[in-house]
Symmetry: C2
Subunit: 513 residues, 2 copies
């Protein structure tokens, strides 16, 4: 058995049965092994940032890692933006990077690069296999690292000769480490603060914003008069009817500071102290008052359920119903507005939809109007590197076994980063409805520019404007085999959405905003 065979068999034995790939010459023995060993679903992406972004979206829904297959250092580099985002989302990925044969590396052939150095910038675990005999064990360790709670990027670098040489040994799965135990003192401390203080914020992030943790946090808040919010940087929120009407800390620095100004204590549940996305002249980094105290109930690598249950127990907090989100909104009409679009999304989304939200500036207020939608999952850009909305939507559809409708609300500038995702959606016949918000500019940056100086001049606009020439998203989608249509009103957008929800295939709506 060659190394590649032992690798594929070990991955399958460890429960990794989906491979997002864009292979090259050095990966051909791996590809050949896939032909001979049944059980691995292979999904091709036409650029590596699509590949890695799909693996992120897959993990968020499937809650188990997929593997990738990338080609040498530069192939890894192409996918690093979305690995950075996946790391921010704390997704688990077994990131396999084929590389030059061990003996060929000293010759510095063109694709030779510091693959290990690149991988370290976006991975929690990096290992280069050097012997076919050890590849199975290395793969089992990589899967273990990827599964380590709540999920990690584990990069396994695979020189071509380690794939093709004989001597491969299939390794048994290695169970991941348990999350570090919850600190009883942290629970007691949080209970004391919640008991004694007013103006306490319980800030949720990571697994703390999933359904069960929300209910438990609400139970704590109801018993103590504290407030519950979600971190702005959140990869996956459970939302809609049956879930808490959580709001995120606003993106804008001034609004965030104002929102948090009244809190004296912040109890962090898998969250960090909230800071600005960027530093701004004359502004602090922190969004919370300098007088406020931060208390860590759980770090991101700990189980929030156990801790919140402990806190409820400590407080003797009674069970409580979640607040009712009110009446489901009606679809709005007329010229598109953020509020109208959000209402229409809430009005029309099927039960159990998945929203992949890379709406950037347009979508900042979407939450308020979608609390009363049916239960759904809302996915965000968690690392700040634009270009994950479309790949995450694609991977999420596969992570949900194509059984749930995915709605990708997508800013146009960010969409151009990884538009190749549409082709994979068409190839795999995925139930993804994409709404591209076509405003023909990097609107967020025009806002940021005005914070800096005055109105952007010609030179600045040459870097901020996407309108010359205008992008036709209908043509772009059609070019990759995805049906598409343009909408200029919310009614047109709603009609297109309704008809797309009846199809088991992707559809793109270009909404002119």
């Amino acid at each position: 058995m060659n190394g590649a065979h032992s690798l594929v068999k070990t991955l399958l034995a460890s429960g990794v049965d989906t491979c997002f790939a864009n292979p090259g010459t050095s990966e051909m023995h791996f590809v050949a092994a896939l032909d001979q060993i049944p059980g691995m679903k292979c999904v091709l992406g036409l650029q590596e940032n699509v590949v890695t972004g799909m693996a992120d979206g897959y993990y968020r829904l499937a809650r188990k890692p997929a593997c990738t297959l990338l080609h040498c250092g530069p192939g890894l580099a192409n996918g690093m933006g979305n690995l950075h985002n996946a790391r921010g989302a704390r997704s688990g990925i077994v990131n396999i990077v084929g590389d030059q044969a061990t003996y060929h590396r000293p010759f510095d052939a063109p694709l030779t690069a510091d693959t290990d150095g690149m991988a370290r910038t976006v991975s929690q675990w990096v290992h280069t296999s050097t012997k076919s005999e050890e590849l199975g064990r290395d793969a089992a360790l990589a899967v273990r690292a990827a599964k380590t709670y709540p999920g990690q990027i584990a990069t396994l670098i695979l020189p071509a000769d380690v794939s093709w040489e004989e001597g491969g040994i299939v390794a048994d799965p290695i169970p991941p480490a348990r999350p570090p135990v919850v600190d009883n003192y942290a629970i007691e401390n949080a209970a004391r603060i919640l008991h004694n203080s007013k103006n306490v914020l319980i800030l949720l992030a990571g697994h703390g914003v999933l359904s069960e943790a929300q209910s438990l946090a609400w139970q704590v808040a109801s018993a103590t008069g504290s407030t519950v919010m979600a971190d702005y940087v959140t990869s996956h929120l459970a939302r809609g009817r049956g879930r808490l009407q959580l709001e995120r800390i606003p993106y804008g620095m001034e609004t965030a500071i104002k929102t948090l100004s009244r809190f004296e204590h912040i109890i962090l549940v898998n969250a960090k102290g909230p800071v600005g996305f960027f530093g701004y002249p004359g502004m602090p980094s922190e969004q919370y008052p300098s007088s406020a105290q931060l208390h860590t109930l759980t770090r991101p690598d700990q189980d929030p359920i156990e801790a919140l249950k402990g806190l409820i127990n400590e407080l003797n907090a009674p069970e409580v119903e979640l607040p009712d989100p009110g009446v489901r909104p009606y679809a709005a009409s007329g010229k598109p507005t953020p509020e109208g679009l959000a209402q229409t999304i809430a009005a029309l989304m099927p039960e159990n939809s998945i929203i992949s939200d890379e709406s950037i500036s347009y979508g900042r207020g979407f939450y308020k109007f979608t609390h009363a939608a049916p239960a759904h999952d809302w996915l965000h850009l968690a690392g700040g590197a634009i270009g994950d909305g479309m790949p995450v939507a694609t991977g999420a559809a596969l992570g949900a076994n194509k059984k749930r409708r995915v709605i990708n609300i997508q800013a146009d500038g960010s969409a151009m980063y990884s538009l190749q995702s549409l082709w994979t959606q068409a190839r795999e016949q995925l139930p993804v409805t994409t709404i591209v918000l076509n405003n023909s500019k990097y609107n967020i940056l025009i806002g940021e520019y005005t914070n800096v100086g005055a109105v952007p001049g010609d030179t600045a606009m040459s870097m901020l404007d996407l309108g010359n020439p205008g992008l036709s998203w209908v043509n772009l989608a059609n070019g990759m085999g995805v049906e598409a249509a343009q909408a200029r009103t919310l009614e047109e957008c709603a009609d297109l959405r309704k008809s797309s929800f009846n199809k088991n295939s992707p559809f793109l709506i270009e909404l002119m905003i």
Copy 2:
């Protein structure tokens, strides 16, 4: 004066007057400075690998560095594939990466990354500015590094507060170091070998394949009965009438080994000993006989003209005419073939055209049929990371001041890596004619797969085939504002090409092969 102003003024003073950009929030003070200081041409790319690839193409033609403007570590990561290629091409780029404000970095906001670590994997020079007062000097040093012969990637990391704080000082240009002097012993040694031995190959790469060096190498070869060839990995060859009919060492390992088998000595002119692109089972890494001796006349960082002139002097080699390339081919007709396409390109290309060749497997034999075309420059992928053909074509058109026709011969799979380039071509109204070779597969990999095993099965083909759904390059180009048409015969392709050569705007031909 703030830091950003001192940076822009220093760049202009140092002769850097073109900026390829995809900025974000942390770059807004730089963008604002560009509005206030005239003289910097700004070119927007809709994804960073387009931005860096354009800077590479620009350098190859303009022979002076442009700067880039990228957003934080992940923006750099997105552009690293083509920085890797630019490094392989030995292009000079002042690679400016905006980053978190110095005081904000410890807070680990989402876009915080190991920007320095990323940059080191693709740069010869990396520096993070930490004070506005020093930014001008840092910029002058970066330009110096980028201009260091034959060209280097100089990455200047620019924390936002270093841009916006006052105290900036404009720095005078710092001249780059002279190339290390040519080694007289190396010249004498080469002369002795050329004098005493048969079966000597003079292998040219880097600046050794430009026009003057070719003629000098031919003068040496004519006087000594040696052979002249170009390295396979070559970024920029002067070709056509008035230039030497140079062939490159073939890509295929067996063919390359056969081609080089008769040589006992290889004299390296800015080249390295030729090795395979990859290692293959049972094959050596080197393409030259183990008995052959390698002799370095010049390293890639030395001036080949000086050395070749010294060698001519040492050998008393007489001046000699370059061989006549024969009659210019006629345009071919019928179903597309590599030979027919090459002939038609040679038949129709305007004098002084620029070819950006990322034709991968289809174009391996193009040279033979294009020696008798008018004088032209031929650009290749020099780092092996696919996705540079379109960005390099775009940047080359700008590097040649839009005055020369650029013909981009482009494989479809590679084209999908950086198709956003077409939008910049439309925006800047560049004279680029793109011929996308649509075969709907990663043909090179199907070849490599058959080297490994047998015929690719269903799983392998799911990773190697681009035909389901088929890509429509006409739609994709139109979606980005570029006129396009499909051709199924060489005549149709020729007619479209001729009409595109009369336009000062981009045009894309989707050639079904």
